[in-house]
Symmetry: D2
Subunit: 290 residues, 4 copies
């Protein structure tokens, strides 16, 4: 518990990560942030990267680590940190916690013998991230639609992490929720929660009945056959990561309203998203017993 | 059912009212709207006010009827309708359905022997309007706060129409809900729904624990004693009609974040709000047996 | 807070009342119970009624006070307490808390100048009692029916205290809930909670669709016209106090399954029911400032 | 769809299976039932086993197939059907749907070249069976406890199929629900649903706080260390299949109240349980495309 952690780079979420780790008794240092951007005044800021690396038993990199594999992701910093230079500083066998690291940078870790773990791959991280994602999706629907979600007919396509939380929340505010899924077991689970269900293969047939359509499936399921049946007053909110679940060209041609909402947790609820990263990191540390 | 209804003036809600009444089999005429603002193309538009009045068995005025007691509330019209002139055209004993009519205009109705009823005073209207109000309030909280409502500690002050729906919806998306009320019977009802409760008199003591504070009580309850205990990261969303429930000057002095959100239904969900007016009008018509 | 309370007579609920009042710092004495029936060993038992009366600042009588206006309701006692004799012992202006006192005994209180208050008439008591009533009603339905309440079509007749809690709980375990009510405002509230609603006047028309019918209306609404449409596999659980809401003779003739379930709180959850009485008494004491 | 199905043996559930398959357009024959025990009068009863086998494209055996591997499970029949004799009659490659078939009988199927599938192993069957299991468990708690589940502190041990549905239903009627689990991902999911969570390893520490403890884990987790901390007024309802999750000898010694509730679906809701089997069989038939 006397361990030292350096949080290097990232947005408001990583400030929260640093604060939460500090609250749990770790000595925490924050690097890659302009001082006036850090709302939490109790965390020590050290902008010499080498010192930050030398200080740390555990290094935490941001989510994502980098957008271009050249510079670290540091939107709240007025300088740039070269990610390869950073890697060179990291000692062999050092525990390096990364978020959505690219293949190229992961290879670099291997080359340098760095012990890297990606917290974004942890199951509990994906499950908990579904909460701000779902809330962000609902906020979009509330903002864009001239009707309430309460008593609207909503379709949640896909019953993975996001689909589960979104269906529950929509139900909770009084929406008439239908979930589409492929597997018999998912359709059974949907029934236990009291939502209506349709098979994914029947989406084209029924989609015209829904006011708001949330897609969570990362495959081009909302193709022409499906899109042409979407009601003209309805909205499609696509939560699927790239390449998304909507044929956007066809949607545009057919004049369907589509919003592609990506990376919602960091945008709509950075503090909560930071807590989720911190909790995941705490689990990793506990499991490793470091 | 062969009755004729003129909907004169109003915003998008009244277009929906006209459409809904038409769907129920009434002959409906719409007055006080530029044609290109009316999304529903099946409703007959008649911009000669006299003809509209002569046509109608029942006249529906907007919500509110007027902002200045001079002109009818017609934001989607490029001309102005003099409300007193309109009144003069209305025959004696004519059923005139109004929304939040002022004392002055109500007196005018009496003088002219018009049989006016204010749909905004109907209990079911207030109850149903709580739905878009609550959803709008949640949308504000989601937009303004860097945390999710899920797992946040939220306080709903007052357990009237809005408090009831808001508490249920917050609970439904996973917020930790506390409701404050004065009456033992309200505190008991709150307990049946599983929310935590505090007495209104104890709000000052506990308010520091909440991330989001929704006020629904139209009295200056959020005074200096209460405001000074509000957490600096928290937000107050005041839903109380004028004069509101917050001492805004003190809040500003203490640097507390307050949003005073009025008339949410028409702003956040005009279609739903229009359906609610239409449903209320249908109830009135059914009860009158006209 | 140094006040003394005598709890005289009653069933397991009153033992809980005594225990809860004791937990709140009052000196409590229990009278009218065989020692081996009292599960809580910390409460002082005093079976001399006169001493119990003399001891007390406040006297609590059971629910109901008496079944025959002759003897106090003391099912856990091997002797009988004459209720009129008891009244004679009570000093003038003594605060006497009663439960469902009869008109005759109330008159006696007036004659003797006793300051009696009936806790059973308190609004919060009725509201909270709806919880064990609703749970008891669900337990009956679960026991009697070869189907689950989950996914069953259930009808709750009446939207008073019991109807509200019952509808919420049925909904909570996944039943398809419809509530019948007369008033537009109740129908609106039902809609805010997401239940289906029907007007009381339409019950005869739709009743055949429901698997379980819960009546809470104390009027003979389930008459021949309605009963003949009840599905033969369905059950009617009548929660209405005497004379009940079902024409039992006709139900028998038509071979409909009816269970008349009265006074559920004391039967299905005496400890919870006792806590509710205690909470109500604490409210009374606080309001009186005694 | 012109296929013929013989349902041979079983209890009320299999009558419902036969009825449901008949409703879906199959020709259905029922064998192994006394005529007066069959509530559904539209199903053809044929008690010559050989004829039933010859008739069928698909044969459905009961759940469980047999209790002793000698006779078919036929509680509603006044004769006995030798299960090995039955197997001999079944032609090679015949589709035989079984419920919890024993290893011995499964071997027999292999020997005879029968194409057997166990519907009880289907994921959706396990998921849906959790509904009557959870409701049955709640009914037991309601019946046995002098408090309501509403506002009680309940612990659900294990977050598998039954744990998930049970937690949701308990929450739905207003219980204060805590779920214990081992995996970080399960603990995260529990958090998304808003229940409190504890790690399985910490159960001994916290178990004293709960009024009702539901175990779903089929391992002796409720051993002396845990049992000794259970509150004396609390109840343990063990839903784990043999050998159960409670050390029953120790529980008895420590005077803890334990109910071991097995095979609830067929007992508490045979019609629903039959529908679940029928739905599962329909899925199997659809997937096989037979």
């Amino acid at each position: 518990m006397n361990q030292k952690i350096s949080v290097i780079g990232g947005d408001a979420r990583q400030i929260k990560v640093a604060a939460a780790l500090s609250d749990h008794g770790y000595s925490v240092m924050l690097t890659g942030f302009c001082e006036d951007k850090v709302f939490n005044k109790t965390i020590k800021i050290e902008n010499d990267v080498q010192k930050a690396v030398e200080f740390a038993d555990i290094i935490v990199l941001p989510l994502p680590v980098s957008f271009d594999d050249v510079f670290l992701n540091t939107p709240l910093y007025d300088k740039q940190i070269d990610v390869c230079e950073l890697m060179k500083l990291v000692p062999k066998n050092q525990l390096l916690l990364t978020g959505m690291i690219s293949k190229k940078l992961k290879t670099l870790c291997n080359v340098y013998g760095i012990y890297d773990m990606d917290y974004f791959n942890r199951e509990e991280m994906k499950i908990l991230n579904a909460i701000p994602t779902a809330e962000g999706a609902m906020e979009i629907a509330m903002r864009e639609m001239p009707i309430t979600l309460h008593n609207s007919r909503t379709l949640v396509m896909g019953y993975g992490h996001v689909g589960k939380v979104l269906a529950k929340m929509l139900w909770g505010i009084g929406s008439k929720v239908t979930v589409s899924a492929r597997k018999c077991s998912d359709l059974a689970t949907i029934r236990t929660y009291g939502y209506d269900s349709i098979k994914t293969e029947d989406v084209a047939k029924y989609i015209g009945e829904f006011n708001v359509i949330f897609n969570t499936i990362p495959a081009k399921i909302l193709n022409r056959d499906v899109l042409q049946n979407v009601n003209k007053h309805s909205i499609i909110i696509d939560l699927a990561s790239k390449p998304g679940g909507v044929d956007f060209d066809v949607a545009k041609e057919l004049n369907k309203k589509v919003i592609w909402a990506l990376s919602l947790p960091g945008k709509v609820a950075p503090i909560t998203a930071g807590e989720i990263i911190a909790d995941t990191i705490l689990n990793i540390i506990e499991e490793l017993g470091v």
